[in-house]
């Protein structure tokens, strides 16, 4: 009784429930766009929280932002923008049917993604090393240089916004700043850093997913799965990658350049 009335032997990539490759591709692309909308709404929640608290504590936001590592983040921004370019080029290469170029560009993209994560990891490592009392992650691992001025920007029981920064924030006297700056200090500075870790952490998770997706696509490309007639995965994978970049482009100024 259950028979398949549609024979698609001529195109192995066309799934049986679609009529034409065009319909299939449109469905996949529209699906990806819809998914990107949900991703934006997901980050939207964090952006909303960010806006609410920035509006509530503008001075604290201004004081806290310089304590993030802006140079590293700037490098990361450049890395991501370049990766967006390589993704765009890879779609172009797929369209042109240039397999070698496609695989190469995808690998470069993956490499850039990994670089981004590496830098991000260093940035996080620095914050955690400071909490442990060391100057840098390397010093932490090797038991090297201690941090001169105590500081801990990881929200939690040990959170400590540096005294001289507190003092600079509004001309607080050193004595008062010292009194205020106790480990675990319950001030909205914690909110800033908490949101920072949440937003960039969530972004990093997306980055890991993106790298995985790109790896699969690169593997598929190397196995000759794509042709100028069919390269939908490259296209929608690229869309996803661009979204990750765009989110970073918003995160970077909001957290580092307040």
């Amino acid at each position: 009784m259950a028979t398949t009335p549609h024979e698609h032997g001529h195109n192995p990539a066309l799934l049986h429930h679609f009529d034409t490759p065009g319909q299939q591709k449109e469905a996949a692309t529209l699906g990806m766009w819809a998914f990107l909308v949900t991703e934006i709404m997901l980050f939207g929640g964090i952006f909303m929280a960010y806006m609410v608290y920035r509006w509530a504590y503008p001075a604290i936001w201004a004081a806290a932002a310089p304590h993030l590592n802006t140079p590293l983040a700037t490098v990361n921004t450049v890395v991501l923008l370049v990766s967006s370019l390589t993704v765009a080029l890879s779609v172009h290469a797929a369209e042109a049917g240039n397999k070698r170029q496609l695989v190469l560009l995808l690998l470069v993209t993956i490499l850039l993604g990994v670089t981004f994560l590496g830098i991000k990891f260093t940035e996080y490592g620095e914050k955690f090393a400071h909490c442990a009392g060391y100057a840098s992650p390397v010093a932490w691992a090797t038991g090297g240089e201690r941090l001169a001025e105590p500081e801990c920007l990881v929200p939690g029981a040990n959170f400590l916004f540096p005294v001289e920064a507190l003092a600079a924030e509004g001309g607080v006297t050193a004595a008062v700043a010292t009194a205020a700056a106790r480990p675990g200090m319950k001030t909205p500075h914690q909110l800033f850093f908490f949101l920072y870790f949440c937003a960039t952490g969530l972004h990093a998770i997306h980055m890991i997913v993106g790298i995985t997706v790109m790896s699969v696509i690169a593997w598929m490309a190397s196995r000759n799965r794509f042709s100028p007639a069919y390269f939908t995965p490259v296209e929608i994978g690229g869309l996803y990658w661009h979204l990750i970049d765009i989110i970073w482009v918003f995160l970077f100024p909001l957290f580092y350049l307040v």
């Binding site: 604290i60 509004g170 607080v172 006297t173 008062v176 205020a180 001030t187």
Partner: protein, 462 residues
């Protein structure tokens, strides 16, 4: 409230208007819910497939009909909306002469504190005919202060103040509920709101009870004597004799606030005179209205919103002050402002002193006021013409009961006659005195006894 009823007690000025609006909504709903189902029923029967009826040219759509049933409900909805909005704005516009009472919610209990420092647990006494503003905060999770008889409800949040006002109209005792789920004993987090006449309320304020001292401790059994007359009209600036303000002032001094916040200005911090209720210009150029939330934030997280022209040198007090203490500081800072609102306890003064046990004379005075307040005096008239015996010289005298026995009217007898009044009735009087067992607290009974004793004892007429 036995059996069936459709409206709860109406005990505030909001109750009537809200019930009316509700009633109109019910009537409007019946227009739809009472008619439409019958239309459906009629159609369902008339056009049942077995019926031979005209089914030719069934309409597919009709713009006029669609517009009709879009616009008529829309108009009705708008009428109801604006009516409700008008009421809502009223409910949120706090009259300037409102009495401030502080409320602290915590799992699973309500603390209320009157401005003379008197504190209650799971109870709230309020006067009739005077707007009351509740200034509420929570120590832990979100609660909601709900008095059905007043038709008011407001969530009580940790870390900030919310307010609520009402004007009670009907003496009595009403339910107080927590309406926002707050954990295990959520359903037990409630109590009683007692509405009393203004004079009774004033008298009640000076009865012994819990009082919060400036250091945050709670002194039980302290009497706050009310020696001032009840002001017929509330004054616009509150008095420094208000004990809660006094407590706040003491705290203000002991914490050292006073060394920076110099009243005359020129200190390291701004003078707090006329701060509350006024807009403040902040360091970043924005304006903020100085309300309970701003003041408490400036105490607890002092560097969050610093007034322009002052260095952010104040240490944050988060974690160092209890909610009660913050409330006292608030009361004090409000008392420094012409927009600080009023307190009925411009009334009670003094005798706070940390006297843990009241002295006998205070008890007599208190007993006397109670004797008047709960209406004893109406029957136990001094000239003996009342429905009850005169109590002059009763103490330690020998009385004859209606069963013919005699006994000595000692403290035990007086006590028994108050709390279980009908047990041993004096000969010649009828058994009409109410039983006060559940209505008077032990210390109130003690005060009454002291008062009766002060009326003289047998052989020792004063």
């Amino acid at each position: 409230m036995q059996g069936f009823s459709f409206f709860p007690d109406q005990a505030s000025t909001f109750a009537g208007p809200i019930d009316l609006l509700y009633f109109v909504l019910v009537v409007l709903s019946l227009l739809f819910a009472g008619v439409l189902p019958f239309v459906v029923l009629y159609l369902v029967v008339r056009y049942h497939r077995s019926q031979q009826v005209d089914r030719t040219n069934p309409p597919a759509s009709d713009l006029r009909l669609e517009l009709t049933w879009t616009i008529i409900p829309l108009i009705l909805a708008m009428i109801v909306f604006f009516w409700g909005a008008f009421l809502y704005v009223q409910m949120r516009t706090i009259p300037p002469q409102a009495i401030d009472i502080y409320v602290i919610g915590k799992q699973w209990m309500w603390h209320t504190q009157h401005s003379n420092g008197k504190r209650e647990n799971n109870e709230l006494h309020v006067p009739i005919g005077r707007p009351v503003r509740l200034i509420m905060t929570s120590q832990d999770v979100i609660h909601s202060f709900y008095v059905p008889a007043f038709r008011v409800k407001q969530d009580v949040l940790p870390g900030r103040y919310t307010t609520l006002w009402f004007e009670a109209t009907q003496a009595g005792q009403y339910h107080l509920f927590c309406a926002e789920y707050c954990g295990t004993e959520h359903s037990l987090m409630g109590g009683t709101v007692t509405v009393m006449s203004l004079s009774d309320y004033q008298a009640w304020l000076s009865t012994p009870g819990q009082v919060i001292m400036p250091d945050g401790t709670i002194q039980a059994g302290t009497v706050l004597l009310n020696t001032n007359a009840i002001p017929s009209k509330p004054t616009t600036s509150s008095s420094l004799s208000d004990p809660m303000v006094l407590a706040g002032e003491k705290l203000f001094t002991s914490l050292g606030c006073v060394s920076c916040h110099v009243m005359a200005g020129g200190g390291l911090g701004p003078s707090l005179k006329n701060v509350f209720g006024f807009d403040q210009l902040l360091a970043d150029g924005s304006m903020v209205k100085s309300d309970e939330n701003y003041i408490s934030e400036s105490i607890l997280r002092s560097t969050a919103k610093v007034v322009k022209g002052y260095p952010a040198v104040m240490p944050p007090y988060q974690g160092q002050l209890s909610n009660d203490q913050v409330n006292q500081l608030l009361a004090y800072i409000k008392s420094l402002s012409t927009r600080g609102g009023t307190t009925p306890s411009a009334v009670p003064t003094t005798a706070t002193g940390a006297t843990a046990a009241p002295v006998a004379e205070d008890l007599v005075a208190k007993g006397k006021s109670l004797f008047t307040k709960i209406g004893c005096v109406g029957c136990h008239m001094d000239n003996g013409a009342g429905l009850g015996p005169s109590l002059k010289g009763v103490y330690n005298s020998t009385v004859t009961l209606d069963d013919g026995t005699t006994l000595k009217a000692d403290e035990t007898y007086l006590h028994e006659s108050i709390i279980t009044s009908q047990a041993k009735v004096v000969k010649g009087y009828s058994m009409i005195m109410p039983v006060y067992k559940s209505q008077l607290k032990a210390d109130e009974v003690a005060a009454l006894i002291e008062y009766v004793k002060s009326l003289g004892s047998a052989g020792n007429q004063p």
